[in-house]
Amino acid sequence: MARRHGSTGQVAIDPAGTTTYVPVAALNSWTLDSARDKVDVTAFGDTNKQYVVGLPDTKGTFSGFWDELSTPDTVFAVAGADVPCGLKLTPSTITPTYFASGLAYLDASIDVKSDGAVSISGEWVAAGPWLWEPQGALLGRGSERAPGREGRTSRADRDDRAGLLSDEENDQIEERERRG
């Protein structure tokens, strides 16, 4: 286990959508957002809000500087294509076997100011399953049901697990729930 500095990060793209990735020049940041949809399922009597989660999102951003020798072809042409590209995001090239990759659609923009360097930025969204290597873990292994919500999910169940109710009280509550 080791911590890494982002200076050795990398964004690589295959415009054809396969895995012949080529590093994109003059970039200095990328992000990958795996936030999952969360649905509030808090019920009467709950002592705190509760949620179930959906699939994780798979999208992100990238940014860097304009390089006239590479940026038009490696970023803007890819962003303007109708087919998804292959995108490989490496946190550190010191450990090049650890990366996230998959198909993606890109957006790109350029920012030109009179008092600064010409910079570019963009957003990407997944266009297929994404994997974290080397584990091969799917980013999108989501579930519509949260663990522990299968079967009984009543207040009686939770209180019972917490050891707050006697057997007699549990029986009474479950009988009421069966009756609706």
Binding site: S7, T8, G9, P23, A26, N28, G64
Partner: protein, 142 residues
Amino acid sequence: MPETAAIDEAVIDLLQQDLQLQAVMPDGVFWGAGPPGATRLVVVTRLGQVDAPIFGGARAYEDVTYRIRAVALSTLPHANADARAAEARIEALLGGGTLTAPGYTLMVARRLEPIHDTEPDAVDPAILWQVRGGDYQVMMSP
């Protein structure tokens, strides 16, 4: 990867080799401080520098700020006029100029702020110096 000193030297060389600047500041162009006895000179210092990193540990560009001061002893004939002429010449050379440094590509060279002061001498406050010039931003891509 080229060294930032190449940019410093490029600025100094550009100013030193200009005959019009030599005419009004005949004691020369110096880095940091001038020699004893100099009465009409240009002094260049580096106020700051920012490196813009990109992936791979390289620098996308270097953003260097120089303070360039044309200094003339106020008791000399035409001290103020010479300092003013030097300021104009520095701006002509560096402002939007054609600075070249080995290993770098110029992104911009421009004045951020002009300088116009009358400063007392550090040793004898009765002696005054006319100071003109400016703070210049030089951005270069390795």
